[in-house]
C-alpha cells in the first residue's frame, strides 16, 4: 500500500544495489539582475536561482552543501519526505551549517515530481537562496509530453529581507501602494451612491482594516527562472509538441495568477503529486506551491506566460516560442483586488454595532451571527463589498462567499479551484481521523504581528502528534490575508470533499474568512516545522514546531543511521 516504505526498507537492506547520487552545492553571495535593478543576494553554485536538482525516485542522494557565506545557512528540501534530521530547519532538524563548513545531507528519494529547495535561515530565501527539484518517477507517468521546463517564479524586491521585515514592523503599509484614494472614493460614489460609499469607508475605518490589504510586499519584479519581464525567459518548442511546464512559486510573499494566452493548460500535478487532469485557462499558485501543467502549442508562434500577482501590483512574464527572440503581446495588469466584508468574516469579536451601520444599504445582513462563525457556507448575504463592486457570479468554495479575492480567468474561461484537485492514485487509504486540531490563523496588520491561535512561535509550545495517528487539522483564517500553510515532513491531505481522492499537498492556502481542513497521516517520527510560507509572516511568529512522538524501531534505526552519517556540522 505504501511502496515508498518498501523502497526505504529495501534501500536499508541492500545499500550496495541502490542507486546513489552525489551532488554538490555551494551557498554563495551572488549578483541578481532583474532587468529593473541589480542587487546583492544569495544563491547556489554562484547563481540565483540555484541549479535544478534532478533526482531519481528510489535513489539515495548525498548532497554536500558548502557554506561560503559569513553567516549560518541551511537547505530545506521543500515537499520531500525524508528523515527529520535531513529536513534542514535550524533549531528543529539540525543546528545549521556554519560559515566555511560543508554539511552532507543524505536521504532516500521516496517520491517523484516537482519540488524545490531553499534556505531556512533568516531571510536568505527571499534574498535569493532557492532552486528547483525534479524527481524522475520509477513508474510510467499517466500523461505524456515531449519536452519539459521548470518555470520557477519569485518576487524579487530591491530591499533585503531584513530591511523589509524592519520596514513592515515600523510602518505596516510601507510597501502598499494600492490603497484606496480620494479618486477611488469618487468613482465608487458615482457607481454605488455617495451614502453607500461613505458607509462602506466608515465600516472599514471602524475596523481599522484596509480593503487593499492583499499584498504586504509590493514593488517587486516578478522573475521566472531568474529573469525579469524585460529579460523574458524563453522556452523553445516545436509546434505540435506537448510541453510539461513545472510551475513553482518560490516567492517570499506573492501569489500569482498564471495564464498563457492562446493555450489551454492541463493541470496534471499539484505539489509534486499526480492529480486527475483538469483543463484550465488560468490558475492561482500560492507561495511555495507547485503545479505541473501540459500545454500543446500547435502553431508556429510565440506565447506569453503571464503571471499576474494576486493583488495586481506586479507580474512575471516569460515566453514559449519556436525560435529564440520571438515574443507575443504582454497583457495589461487587471485592477487591484479589493477585500470585501466577506473576507473579514473570520474575524472574531467584530462589533455588531459597526455592522449595524452597514445595514441601511441595499444589502442583506440578516446573518450577522455568521460574522463570528467561520463556516463560509453561512456567509450568504454578506457579500456587500462584491455587490457594491457590481461583479458577482464568481464563486469558489475555497474563498469566502462574496470574497474580493475570488479569481476569474482573464478570458472568462475556467479558473482552477482547489475543489478541482483530485488525487490520481491515492497514496493513503481513506480512514477516519483519530482527532482534530484547530489552528486559528491570527494576526494584527497594524502591528504586523502574525500568530497561530493568537500565540507567536516565540511563546508557543510544540504541537505534539503521535506516530500512527491521522490528524485532522482545521485551519480557521481570522485574518484578512491569505496564508499558505506548510507542514514539513508529512503530507497534507487537503479536504476537497473527495474522500479517498482528496489530493495530497505540502502547502495549503487558506483564504481570509474561510475554514479549510487537511488531514495528515502521522507517519514520520521526529520534529518538524509547520508555518505560513509567507516569509515575513513566518518570521513574525506564524510558525510552530511539531513533534511526532513514538515510531517503529525500524524507522528509528534508519533515522539514527542517517543521523550518524550525515553528521553534525
Amino acid at each position: 500500500m505504501k511502496p515508498r516504505f518498501l523502497t526505504g526498507l529495501l534501500s536499508l537492506l541492500m545499500p550496495a544495489m541502490v542507486l546513489a547520487g552525489e551532488y554538490d552545492l555551494t551557498v554563495d553571495r551572488v549578483k541578481i539582475d532583474t532587468g529593473d535593478f541589480v542587487k546583492e543576494g544569495i544563491g547556489y553554485n554562484g547563481a540565483s536561482p540555484g541549479p535544478v536538482m534532478r533526482f531519481k525516485e528510489g535513489e539515495n542522494v548525498r548532497i554536500n552543501v558548502t557554506n561560503n557565506l559569513d553567516e549560518m545557512t541551511s537547505i530545506h528540501w521543500h515537499g520531500l519526505i525524508l528523515p527529520f534530521n535531513q529536513d534542514g530547519v535550524p533549531g528543529i532538524s539540525f543546528p545549521g551549517i556554519k560559515p566555511g563548513e560543508t554539511f552532507t545531507y543524505e536521504f532516500p528519494i521516496q517520491q517523484a515530481g516537482t519540488y524545490w529547495f531553499h534556505s531556512h535561515s533568516g531571510f536568505q530565501e527571499p534574498d535569493g537562496a532557492y532552486g528547483a527539484i525534479v524527481i524522475e518517477p520509477e513508474k510510467r507517468e499517466p500523461f505524456r509530453y515531449d519536452r519539459e521546463y521548470v518555470v520557477q517564479l519569485t518576487d524579487k524586491h530591491p530591499h533585503s529581507g531584513d530591511r523589509i521585515m524592519r520596514n513592515l514592523k515600523m510602518i505596516p503599509d510601507y510597501y502598499n501602494r494600492e490603497q484606496q484614494t480620494v479618486g477611488e472614493f469618487f468613482s465608487d460614489a458615482s457607481k454605488n451612491g455617495l451614502m453607500n460609499t461613505i458607509r462602506d469607508r466608515m465600516a472599514w475605518g471602524d475596523m481599522r482594516m484596509m480593503k487593499a490589504d492583499v499584498e504586504d510586499l509590493q514593488g517587486f519584479t516578478g522573475l521566472i527562472n531568474g529573469k525579469g519581464p524585460e529579460q523574458n525567459w524563453t522556452g523553445l518548442f516545436e509546434p505540435g509538441e506537448r510541453i510539461r511546464l513545472r510551475f513553482i512559486n518560490s516567492s517570499a510573499m506573492t501569489y500569482f495568477d498564471i495564464r498563457i494566452t492562446g493555450l489551454d493548460m492541463t493541470v496534471v500535478q499539484a505539489d509534486g503529486n499526480n492529480v486527475q487532469p483538469v483543463n484550465v485557462d488560468e490558475f492561482r499558485i500560492g507561495v511555495a506551491e507547485s503545479y505541473d501543467v501540459i500545454v500543446h502549442p500547435k502553431d508556429e508562434q510565440a506565447y506569453t506566460i503571464f503571471a499576474e500577482s494576486m493583488g495586481r501590483s506586479g507580474y512575471a512574464r516569460a515566453t514559449l516560442a519556436p525560435e529564440e527572440g520571438m515574443e507575443a503581446a504582454v497583457p495589461q495588469l487587471r485592477d487591484p483586488a479589493r477585500l470585501t466584508m466577506a473576507d473579514m468574516s473570520g474575524m472574531p469579536g467584530m462589533d455588531h454595532g459597526n455592522m449595524a451601520g452597514m445595514d441601511h444599504g441595499d444589502m442583506d445582513m440578516n446573518s450577522s451571527e455568521g460574522m463570528s462563525g467561520m463556516d463560509h457556507s453561512n456567509m450568504e448575504g454578506m457579500d456587500h463589498g462584491s455587490m457594491a463592486m457590481g461583479k458577482g457570479g464568481q464563486s469558489d468554495p475555497f474563498y469566502a462567499k462574496g470574497s474580493g479575492l475570488v479569481p476569474t480567468a482573464a478570458n472568462g474561461g475556467k479558473f482552477l479551484s482547489y475543489a478541482d484537485l483530485k488525487a490520481q492514485d491515492p497514496l493513503y487509504e481513506d480512514r477516519e481521523p483519530t482527532r482534530e486540531i484547530e489552528l486559528r490563523l491570527t494576526g494584527n496588520m497594524e502591528r504586523y504581528t502574525w500568530s497561530i491561535n493568537g500565540v507567536k512561535y516565540e511563546d508557543a509550545d510544540p504541537i505534539r502528534l503521535k506516530y500512527g495517528e491521522r490528524v485532522r487539522f482545521k485551519f480557521v483564517n481570522e485574518t484578512m490575508m491569505t496564508h499558505p500553510m506548510h507542514l514539513h515532513g508529512m503530507w497534507s491531505i487537503l479536504d476537497v470533499g473527495a474522500d479517498q481522492w482528496n489530493p495530497i499537498k505540502h502547502t495549503v492556502s487558506v483564504q481570509p474568512g474561510t475554514t479549510v481542513y487537511m488531514e495528515t497521516e502521522v507517519d514520520e517520527p521526529g520534529q518538524w516545522a509547520f508555518h505560513c510560507h509567507l516569509s515575513y509572516h513566518a518570521a513574525a511568529g506564524m510558525f510552530r514546531k511539531v513533534i511526532v512522538e513514538g515510531g517503529p524501531e525500524s524507522t528509528q534505526a534508519k533515522t539514527d543511521v542517517i543521523a550518524k552519517d550525515g553528521g553534525e556540522v
Binding site: G91, Y174, R464, E553
Partner: protein, 249 residues
C-alpha cells in the same frame, strides 16, 4: 550528535505500557533567532522642516522619534524642537524617553520622562501616555505630564492622512495642550494652553523613506497663556508656510 536522542527511549517506554503518560523530550531545542522575540528599530521624522511666519519669523523645526524593541516592549525616544534661526535659540526643545507596551489591539501605553531644555527655564516631567490608531484611521498620541514641581498638563496629538494618490498624501495634524495648573515662568496658564494645526502635502519620493512636503501651520495660544505671551511682548497667533520632508529609516 548528542542532541538526537530520546525517541528510542520513548518508544521503549511506550512499549512497556506507559505510553499515554509519556511526553517525548524535544530532540533539539530551538535556540535560533526565530524562537526569540523579534527585535526591531526605526527612526521617523514626521516633521523636518523650515517655517516662515507671517511676522517674518524663521524657524527650523523637527518632530521625530526613534524606537528599539520587541512587540511586547519598546524603548522610544521622542524629540521635538523649534529653532529660531535669527535669534539662534531654541523656542522649544523637548526630549522624551519612554517605555512602551501594548494595552489593546491598536493602542500602546507609554511611561517615562521628558526633559525640556529650550532657551529659558528647563523643566523635567514624568510622562504617562497612550498612542495608537483610533477608528477611522486617526493616529492618536495623548500624554499626561507632571513636572518636578507638581504642575500637571496634558497634550493630544492627532493626525489624519488623505491619499490623493498612493504617492501624494495630505496630512492634517492637530496638537493641543492643556494645563491643570499655572507655570508662569514658562508662559503656561491654566486651561487650554495652545494648539498647533497643520496641513502638509507630501510626495513619497523614495519609498516612504523620503517624502518632501509643503504646507501651512497655524499656532495659537489661549486664555491665560495668551495673556502671559502678550505681557511678555509676544504674539498669540502665528501662521507659517512650511517646507520640509518626512523621513523614515
Amino acid at each position: 550528535m548528542s542532541c538526537i536522542r530520546s525517541i528510542v527511549a520513548v518508544s521503549f517506554l511506550a512499549s512497556i505500557g506507559v505510553s499515554t503518560a509519556v511526553t517525548a523530550q524535544e530532540m533539539i531545542s530551538d535556540t535560533t533567532a526565530r524562537k526569540q522575540p523579534l527585535t526591531t528599530w526605526g527612526v521617523q521624522f514626521e516633521e523636518f522642516e523650515y517655517r516662515y511666519s507671517d511676522d517674518d519669523e524663521e524657524l527650523g523645526v523637527w518632530n521625530a522619534d526613534a524606537f528599539y524593541g520587541t512587540d511586547d516592549f519598546k524603548v522610544r525616544l521622542l524629540t521635538t524642537g523649534e529653532y529660531e534661526i535669527e535669534e539662534q535659540a531654541y523656542e522649544t526643545l523637548e526630549n522624551q524617553l519612554v517605555g512602551q507596551i501594548p494595552i489593546s489591539k491598536f493602542f500602546d501605553a507609554k511611561a517615562g520622562v521628558r526633559f525640556d531644555t529650550p532657551e529659558g527655564p528647563d523643566r523635567t516631567y514624568a510622562v504617562l501616555g497612550v498612542a495608537g490608531l483610533a477608528p477611522q484611521w486617526f493616529e492618536i498620541d495623548a500624554n499626561l505630564y507632571v513636572s518636578k514641581d507638581g504642575d500637571t498638563s496634558a497634550e493630544l496629538d492627532a493626525e489624519y492622512e488623505l491619499l490623493f494618490t498612493n504617492y501624494w498624501i495630505l496630512a492634517a495634524t492637530l496638537d493641543a495642550s492643556v494645563a491643570f495648573s499655572e507655570d508662569e515662568e514658562i508662559g503656561v496658564g491654566k486651561g487650554l494652553v495652545s494648539t498647533e494645526t497643520g496641513l502638509r502635502l507630501s510626495y513619497d519620493l523614495i519609498d516612504r523613506a523620503f517624502s518632501p512636503y509643503v504646507g501651512v501651520v497655524h499656532e495659537r495660544k489661549y486664555g491665560d497663556s495668551a495673556d502671559l505671551a502678550e505681557a511678555d511682548g509676544g504674539g498669540t497667533e502665528d501662521w507659517f508656510a512650511v517646507i520640509g520632508a518626512r523621513i523614515a529609516f
